[in-house]
Chain length 324, copies 2
């Protein structure tokens, strides 16, 4: 058995954690790196870090990002010295950025650095950046082109999104590790975690070849909705979907993922939309998909894997010559 | 009135602090930067930082270096992630290195960066790196050539020093600010702080033109001994002087500074050596030169300035045509 999960930050990390609790080292998480940026001379990979800290069991349970019990002495001193403090860098978190930056500048690959950091943190699953190349999400807001962290952290998403682009994606390549994970003969499923489809999953799919590899993997591809009852569990997903004119329903999620995803897990609150989604050609499973704690994560991961099993059976049944 | 002090780390910073308590912004401190190094991708200037933190009143009173009440969460996390922790970087201290590194990499001068950091810390005196160019102390130990921090911190000075060199010094230039401070018509004295003559003051004097400018400034040049009773107040000065075969007495300090310094302040414990030193052509003043607290610093700075006054009078008297 081998499962590949695609994830962005907080919500994605939670389901990845649930999956790791179920299948351990059989899980590979491919993580969005289009939110990465340079700040204070440090190379920061917010989604990779959220996934790493969550899988290591050291994530801050209140914020979802950062490290539990974190202190902010360096950032306070940076502010005192006149430096910028709008991006919250905790003292322990700084260690990750410092070590990563040093190795990136010496020419090492983000994939290798991430593997070592995960090893040091005792993470069983494999965590892979979507690419070792530079891809950067740019948020279009009217005539403004905003680097993602400017939009997300500095402006707190307070401007309307009129478009999104992923600078560098066209010339990026998936790493050999990403290609191998998706081509693994033991691959049984691909899971799109409940991350923002536009800001977290789309950049991964924008890396040339990845979308095709997912479609051609010939395994169930299951997404979990980041939208419950028309609202995002966390972050600006619903706001952005409304601003882009697609609406903020689970049906809009289904439309967005159509052609890629074979099954969608939605919340019980959205069960009335299951028919609409099935009419788009996707299988639906409803559940209580809000993850409040580790038990929720493990339970949902189990349900997700059961859903995958159903879809696989359906597919193999469907593939048989019909009985006379 | 204008006083220029040359300083290295802890001992030098203490007298510089005393001088600042006496004359405030009339003090310029020229600081050794040959101990600077790159570590974890950060540009670290240990002596500049010790001087800055001491003058800002935030230095750790126990260690002399670093910041009072410092925490070590980033360093602990670095160690957990497999990074090096032999050089002690505190959380608040990291802010200094991060901001400095970012600006140096963007091409700014260390002098300008230091001025801004000192401004943010509310330091009245001017703190100048000896040069904006790269100079690096290399410790020769037999056939080994050790970068200074390897010798000083990692090896804790536990190997014998057979020679010292200052890589890059020959092609370094003093900054315009350093040249201007020493050429200031209001300059009344130059003070060599009780820093290690070999490791802290010599690198400053190795910057082409600086020694000549000090000699030609035509003002009293007073040194305070870093040696009391044959031992260093702090650090490896006595050990190194013994290993280099010059002995660890105040007389050896006087010999080392002969031709540059017009007066030497020594401890009462070394008063019996005053004659030897005077025979070398230096004026001597004895006092209790150990600085235990801020009062000691201010008192010694006052005595130092009084000594300067005596030397200046002596010089102007000596310059007169002798009475018949």
């Amino acid at each position: 058995m081998s499962v590949v999960a695609l994830a962005g930050g907080v919500g994605g990390a939670k389901l990845a954690d649930g999956l790791m609790r179920c299948i351990g080292s059989d899980l590979t998480v491919i993580v969005n790196t289009a939110d990465d940026f340079e700040h204070l001379g440090l190379c920061i990979s917010p989604d990779l870090d959220t996934v790493m800290y969550t899988l290591a069991g050291i994530a801050n349970p209140e914020t979802g990002w950062g490290i539990a019990g974190e202190t902010w002495h360096a950032l306070e001193a940076i502010a005192r010295l006149g430096g910028p403090d709008w991006f919250r860098l905790g003292d322990r978190d700084l260690a990750t950025h410092i070590l990563r930056t040093r190795r990136l500048r010496s020419g090492e690959r983000l994939t290798a650095i991430t593997a070592d950091l995960c090893g040091a943190l005792g993470i069983a699953a494999r965590v892979l950046p979507m690419t070792d190349d530079r891809v950067r999400t740019v948020v279009q807001s009217g005539t403004d082109r905003l680097p993602f962290q400017d939009y997300f952290v500095r402006l707190k998403c307070a401007v309307p999104v009129t478009g999104l682009s992923f600078d560098g994606a066209a010339s990026a390549s998936p790493s050999a590790e990403v290609i191998a994970a998706l081509a693994d003969p033991a691959l049984t499923a691909i899971v799109l975690c409940p991350s923002n489809p536009y800001l977290s999953i789309d950049p991964i799919l924008a890396v040339p070849g990845l979308r095709a590899q997912i479609v051609e993997a010939n395994v169930p591809v299951v997404a979990m909705s980041p939208i419950i009852g028309g609202a995002a569990v966390k972050g600006p997903a619903a706001k952005i979907m409304t601003e882009l004119g697609v609406g903020s329903s689970v049906t809009a999620i289904a439309r967005h993922y159509r052609g890629l995803v074979t099954g969608l897990m939605i919340d019980d609150a959205d069960a009335h939309l299951a028919g609409e989604i099935e009419a788009l050609g996707l299988r639906v499973r409803t559940s209580a998909i809000l993850m409040r704690d580790g038990n929720d994560r493990a339970r949902l991961a189990e349900e997700c894997l059961a859903f995958v099993g159903e879809l696989a059976n359906k597919r193999s049944i469907g593939g048989r010559t019909p009985s006379p």
